[in-house]
């Protein structure tokens, strides 16, 4: 039996970032392992330069997620423009400023970007640390959610939550069981995902995704096996 932290990710707009393609920031149905890490690290007030601590935390997180609504997932693509200049420069800690490539004509028009969002996001998450004895402990993480060092956001900075993220504690032997304990009493079942290492029973599909970050290089890589399926669906008759 393990103790799971129950979180509610609820906001009018939320983002579970996937691989950015050119100027298009796509989103996935479920949050990435790296996103859960960043969310807790933000609550704990860690600067991004604490790469070792971020890496260790990511390695310890075990989480499952479940969509609370029967309403179909709705997405929005936000159009953004930025006025860039060929002469823009930024200082760097390498001792030489970063510059923009390309000639002046490259910057004549506005730079266009598209960023996807989930509308009316309501996602339940169950999370534990494996092992829990290291710092930060699950209790410290929960306290940080209630009184965070910095404002919490779900994916991107404008995605501010409309409810407290901390929703309580669950005792369950594994992630699917924890998700079952918090699933709404929906007749058709709620879409959920959890790590394959927590048990594959009840999974509609088992797949590999890349959602872990190497915090030193800043790049995502590797593969993590996850299950996706319906939690709380009634057993078929006969």
């Amino acid at each position: 039996m393990s103790r799971w932290l129950h979180m509610r990710l609820q906001a009018p707009l939320g983002s579970f970032g996937g691989e950015t393609v050119d100027a298009r920031g796509i989103i996935r149905d479920f949050p990435a392992q790296s996103m859960m890490t960043g969310l807790l690290a933000n609550a704990l007030g860690w600067p991004r330069t604490m790469t070792g601590e971020h890496q260790a935390l990511q390695d310890r997180i075990v989480f499952g997620a479940l969509w609370e609504d029967e309403v179909p997932l709705e997405r929005l693509t936000d159009y953004q423009t930025a006025s860039l200049n060929k002469d823009d420069q930024a200082w760097t800690t390498r001792g030489v400023p970063a510059r923009r490539a390309g000639g002046p004509n490259t910057y004549e028009g506005s730079h266009q970007r598209w960023r996807d969002y989930h509308c009316d996001l309501r996602l339940a998450v169950v999370l534990r640390f494996n092992p829990d004895e290291q710092s930060p402990t699950l209790d410290q993480a929960a306290n940080a959610l209630v009184r965070p060092a910095r404002p919490l956001f779900i994916g991107r900075k404008p995605c501010l939550p409309s409810a407290p993220l901390f929703a309580g504690w669950i005792d369950a032997p594994n992630a699917p069981a924890a998700l079952t304990a918090i699933a709404p009493a929906a007749s058709t079942g709620s879409r959920a995902c959890w790590p394959a290492s927590e048990g594959t029973e009840g999974a509609a599909r088992i797949t590999s995704i890349t959602d872990e970050r190497n915090f030193l290089t800043g790049l995502h890589g590797g593969a993590r096996r996850i299950c996706e399926g319906l939690i709380g669906a009634p057993e078929p008759a006969g």
């Binding site: 991004r48 936000d78 159009y79 953004q80 930024a90 760097t92 404002p151 404008p158 409810a163 901390f166």
Partner: protein, 377 residues
């Protein structure tokens, strides 16, 4: 008194017959919430107009001269003194110091009275302090070596240091301190935004009209073709928008090199900007200027949360209903989670809000500034 780590600013702001924020097809931006489509103003649109606004509360108007007074000790305190504390040779420190003072404060920087305002944030301070430490340790106890090292460093780093100067000169540095600055190739040089701005959305279902218009050529003679020169449609929307902003005091101070006075001034001005600056486009054809009808400010240290859920069920497009929904939701939150924030409310209707002392906008802005300056609500 609660610790004013976060300042939350909620607004209900009405705009009739306007097209404030468009997507690439020229239509108003939208989002679905609670199953109904709402008109939306994007976060980046709001931030841009607050950042570039002119007028009495403009961010650019923050007094650079007094900032120079307050920041003139940063090099001494954060870059030079740590060298002494680490046991470096005083002669070596004396060889390095003038260059750092001059670097940050300009040619006349070696005497205290004559410094240009530079707004150094934590990333800049840490970088310069790190470089000073490196140069000092490489020089050992030899002041002459230190002099050579610093001269070589200034030469090789010239472009980078000029970039630091450009990024941190007021008023440009102020925008970065509030809204952040990202360098994709070097996260350690990033400034995190100290202000979070949610996309604003209407508390009611979208109200939109397609305005058909024609352009008539007045110079046409009677014998010429009588048709219009151009016909087109543009969208017009009316909206009572719920806006939500969170100011992160810790990050703001980090970006301002610890300057609490400036943090307070920024907070006060930002409240005025949020309440009165239009994010609108189509200024000539729609005059989209309005002041907010209701602003609620909360200061505390619990996880900030928007009041968007008050409008999950779209309410009638009227202030009475919207205020009631917001106040009721706030009451419900207090009942379930306890009231942990200090609140002020300024509204046209002057109706009571749960746990909030009534104020004018100026009072509310002043209270917000004080909370940011002192860290107490």
């Amino acid at each position: 008194m609660p610790d004013a780590r976060f300042l939350q600013i909620h607004t209900l702001h009405g705009y009739p017959a306007a097209l404030l924020n468009r997507d690439e097809s020229g239509l108003a931006k939208r989002m679905t919430y609670g199953g109904s489509i709402r008109t939306r103003i994007s976060s980046q649109c709001l931030k841009r107009h607050w950042r570039t606004a002119e007028g009495p509360h403009a961010l650019q108007g923050i007094d650079g001269a007094t900032a120079a007074v307050r920041s003139r000790d940063i090099v001494t305190r954060r870059i030079i003194e740590p060298l002494a504390a680490a046991g470096r040779d005083q002669a070596v420190i004396d060889a390095l110091e003038p260059s750092f003072q001059k670097l940050v404060y300009g040619d006349k920087g070696t005497t205290k009275g004559s410094r240009q305002p530079l707004l150094l944030g934590e990333p800049e301070i840490e970088y310069l302090a790190g470089e000073a430490t490196r140069l000092a340790s490489e020089s050992g106890n030899d002041a002459k070596v230190a002099e050579k090292s610093i001269a070589a460093w200034l030469k090789s780093e010239r472009a980078n240091l000029r970039a630091i100067e450009k990024a941190t000169t007021l008023p440009a540095g102020l925008a970065a301190a509030l809204f952040g600055r990202m360098v994709t190739s070097d996260p350690m040089a990033n400034l995190d935004a100290a202000v979070h701005v949610a996309h604003a959305f209407t508390v009611h279902a979208e109200e939109s009209e397609s305005d058909y218009f024609s352009v008539v050529d007045d110079l046409k003679r009677g014998d010429e073709d009588a048709g219009a020169a151009h016909i087109n449609e543009t969208e017009l929307t009316a909206g009572l928008f719920y806006g939500y902003v969170v100011l992160d005091r810790t990050t703001l101070l980090r970006n301002l090199g610890g300057d609490t006075e400036m943090a307070g001034e920024i907070g006060e001005r930002l409240v005025h900007l949020i309440a009165t600056v239009s994010p609108g486009a189509k200024l000539g054809s729609t005059a989209p200027y309005s002041y907010t009808s209701w602003v609620l400010a909360e200061a505390g240290d619990r996880q900030p949360r928007s009041l968007a859920e008050a409008f999950r069920e779209p309410c009638a497009p009227a202030m009475l209903e919207a205020e009631e929904a917001a106040h009721q939701h706030l009451s419900n939150l207090d009942r379930m989670y306890g009231n942990g924030e200090a609140r002020r409310i300024a509204s046209l209707s002057n109706r009571e809000a749960p746990g909030a002392a009534a104020a004018t906008l100026s009072d509310l802005a002043g209270w917000a500034g004080t909370a940011l300056r002192t860290g107490l609500a």
